[in-house]
């Protein structure tokens, strides 16, 4: 197990390296940040001075080597537009995004799994049909559309919740988060639900599909025949088996919740990393894009590792070591 984890971590170094090359050269292909950043009144000389100030006058290969040299010491470069270290910019905004993603994930799990289980166990009941119809709506409607509708209904028309932004923060057990204040919870509810909608639908559908399949399998029949209580059959035997695809998907989806909550963060003016990323991409702020994606790669690699380990726990038949064969 330990050897396995170490090997995976070493692979991830390679992955990060490849990623940095792709992003570095890719962003360069798109355009020139100076065109985005320079004051239009500037003359040719000023433009060239700005290009030099950002180190963009050197050949791209040289720029990359320079980046690598700094990266080894943990310096991922300074943002072109903010002038602050890219890593610091991202870390500043990380708590806001994490609390949003975690809230959304919890919503997806605690709404999605029970609803999906119910719909799978009683597929023909009217309630199940309603759940399934609702889940289809959940991912048919574009996120930005739902988000704006929520703002219109709950903030503008009813006035129950604040329209945009993150609420007050408080510190609890060393963690500063807006989840610890009433004002913060009011602010986070709508964006989190907006972000969670698609995931809730996905979890409902996966759970239902798994349940429908599993209840016909021998081990469930056997467990029933053994006289185990239906409750125990569902909670222990059934749930354990259907959780595998659900865990895979949730694991991945958590990654995408953290990495690409761009639309939700933009609509709700949530000061998180997603908004930073989209702004950086639009302004070609290469150091931030590179640093951001490196962090995201690490996040996905770690999540995949956790998912794989969870597999082996949930299903002993999957052995981690077998890849060596």
């Amino acid at each position: 197990m330990t050897a396995y984890v170490i090997r995976r971590l070493m692979q991830s170094v390679v992955v990060v390296l490849i990623m940095s090359v792709i992003v570095f050269f890719g962003v360069n292909v798109v355009g020139d940040p100076v065109d985005m950043l320079i004051n239009p009144e500037a003359d040719q000389e000023d433009i060239e001075a700005a290009i030099r100030a950002l180190g963009l006058d050197k050949p791209i290969g040289e720029q990359y080597l320079f980046f690598l040299k700094n990266a080894i010491t943990g310096n991922l470069g300074k943002s072109f537009i903010f002038g602050e270290p890219a890593l610091q910019l991202i870390i500043q905004r990380m708590p806001a995004t994490l609390e949003l993603a975690i809230t959304a994930l919890l919503m997806a799990i605690f709404l999605g799994i029970p609803l999906g289980l119910y719909a799978g166990l009683k597929p023909d009941s009217p309630a199940s049909r309603t759940i399934m119809a609702g889940s289809i709506l959940g991912f048919s409607l574009p996120t930005f559309w739902v988000g704006l509708m929520m703002i219109m209904v709950f903030a503008v028309m009813l006035g129950w919740l604040p329209s945009t932004g993150r609420g007050e923060t408080a510190t609890f057990l060393g963690i500063t988060s807006s989840l610890f204040t009433l004002n913060g919870l009011q602010h986070i509810f709508m964006p989190a639900l907006n972000l969670a909608l698609l995931k809730i639908s996905l979890v409902i559908r996966l759970t239902r599909a798994g349940t429908r399949e599993a209840i016909h399998q021998d081990y469930i029949k056997f467990a029933r025949a053994k006289g185990l209580s239906p409750h125990r059959v569902i909670m222990v035997h059934l749930l354990k088996n259907i959780l595998i695809p659900v865990v895979t998907v949730i694991g991945l989806e958590f990654g995408s919740l953290v990495a690409f909550s761009v639309v939700t963060e933009t609509i709700f003016a949530w000061p998180g990393m997603g908004k930073l990323l989209i702004d950086s991409i639009q302004q070609l702020d290469r150091p931030v894009i590179v640093a951001y994606l490196i962090i995201i790669v690490l996040l996905f690699v770690t999540l995949n590792l956790i998912v794989d380990i969870l597999y082996s726990i949930l299903d002993p038949r999957v052995r981690l070591g077998e890849r060596e064969a």
Binding site: Q11, V14, V15, M19, I22, V23, G26, V27, V29, V30, M132, I136, L137, F139, S140, L141, P142, T143, F144, W145, L148, M152, L198, S201, L202, R205, L206, A209, G210, R212, E213, H216, Q217, I244, P245, T248, V249, L252, G255, S256, A259, F260, L277, I278, I281, I289, L293, V297, L299, F300, V301, N304, V307, Y311, D315, R317, V318, E322, R323, E324
Partner: protein, 310 residues
């Protein structure tokens, strides 16, 4: 054994024989049509596809021909008469396009982009996922790390790079969407296939000396279908929405040839303006399409699944 029981048993037996007598397709058809909702959805979907294919014959205007569209007609409410004699049934959008025509043409693009890219990504993704699961070892590691990179790469950045290098177009958007999506399928299929691989029936197959391909495609793949179809139907909807989002961010399709997604994202600007039709009608069209794709997908999954005893 009483006669009554005997008859019941006969009946079951008959039913069984009848089923055996059907061709696989007939059986599939009968199973599929069992659900009324799914049947309605299928009919709707077929209708939508037909309408999309024959859009040039049905639409009163060619919304992609700039000579036929005039900004003077912009934002007219449904029912207004146009200078060419036909009525703007669903009103016009911000550029003066007849919304009804634009929706029909837009459906064509959205369907081909969404479904095609979804399908290509599904095929590529599940093939790669299967290989990873079955080959294991180094192959698996390499593939899964590529998947990691792919999943961490934002779609907009891929689209932006493609746009900068190749320009705009339907084909570029499809490349972008496939690039974004295949990894999801690969990851899902690999996860399920890993579990299946260690199951008894596969081991039995190996013992029987069945070929690798046969085990992969005839035994493992069908058993991965359930989660695959779920992810597939969701991803197809997602692909259409993603295309809308990319268009929304300005890196999608050419704006003079709007897809349904682009119409919706254009309509986004008008959501608070009181001119409901510009965002409402394209939205309804999209909703209908995605809902029917999903209902059909759900039923397909149930019907195709070898493990669901029906």
């Amino acid at each position: 054994m009483t006669t009554v029981e005997q008859t019941e048993l006969d009946l079951v037996e008959d039913e069984h024989e009848r089923i055996l007598a059907q061709t696989p397709f007939q059986r599939f058809k009968a199973d599929f049509l069992e659900s009324k909702i799914a049947t309605v959805a299928l009919v709707t979907l077929v209708a939508i596809v037909l309408v999309a294919i024959f859009a040039p014959l049905i639409a009163p205007q060619n919304p992609y021909d700039l000579a036929q569209v005039s900004v003077l007609d912009a934002r007219l409410p449904p029912g207004t008469k146009s200078e060419f004699g036909y009525t703007f049934l669903l009103g016009t959008d911000g550029a003066g396009r007849d919304l009804f025509s634009a929706i029909l043409y837009g459906l064509r693009i959205s369907l081909s982009v969404g479904v095609m890219s979804g399908f290509i990504a599904l095929v590529i993704g599940s093939a790669i996922g299967l290989i990873a699961a079955y080959a294991g070892g180094r192959v698996d590691s390499v593939i899964m790390r590529v998947v990691d990179i792919q999943l961490s790469f934002p779609a907009i950045l891929i689209a932006l790079m493609l746009l900068a290098v190749f320009g705009k177009g339907v084909d570029k958007i499809m490349i972008a969407l496939v690039t974004v999506q295949w990894a999801y399928y690969a990851r899902t299929v690999r996860g399920t296939a890993l579990v299946e691989r260690s199951k008894e029936y596969v081991e039995a197959g190996v013992c029987l000396g069945l070929s690798r391909n046969r085990i992969l495609f005839r035994h493992i793949l069908p058993n991965c279908l359930a989660p695959l179809i779920v992810v597939g139907t969701v991803q197809t909807a997602h692909a259409i929405a993603l295309e809308a989002t990319l268009s929304f961010l300005g890196v999608g399709l050419p704006q003079t040839e709007p897809s349904l997604g682009l119409l919706i994202s254009n309509g986004f600007e008008y959501m608070l303006s009181g001119r409901y039709w510009i965002s409402f009608f394209p939205g309804i069209a999209l909703l209908l399409t995605i809902v029917s794709i999903n209902l059909v997908g759900d039923q397909l999954r149930d019907v195709l699944n070898p493990r669901l005893e029906r």
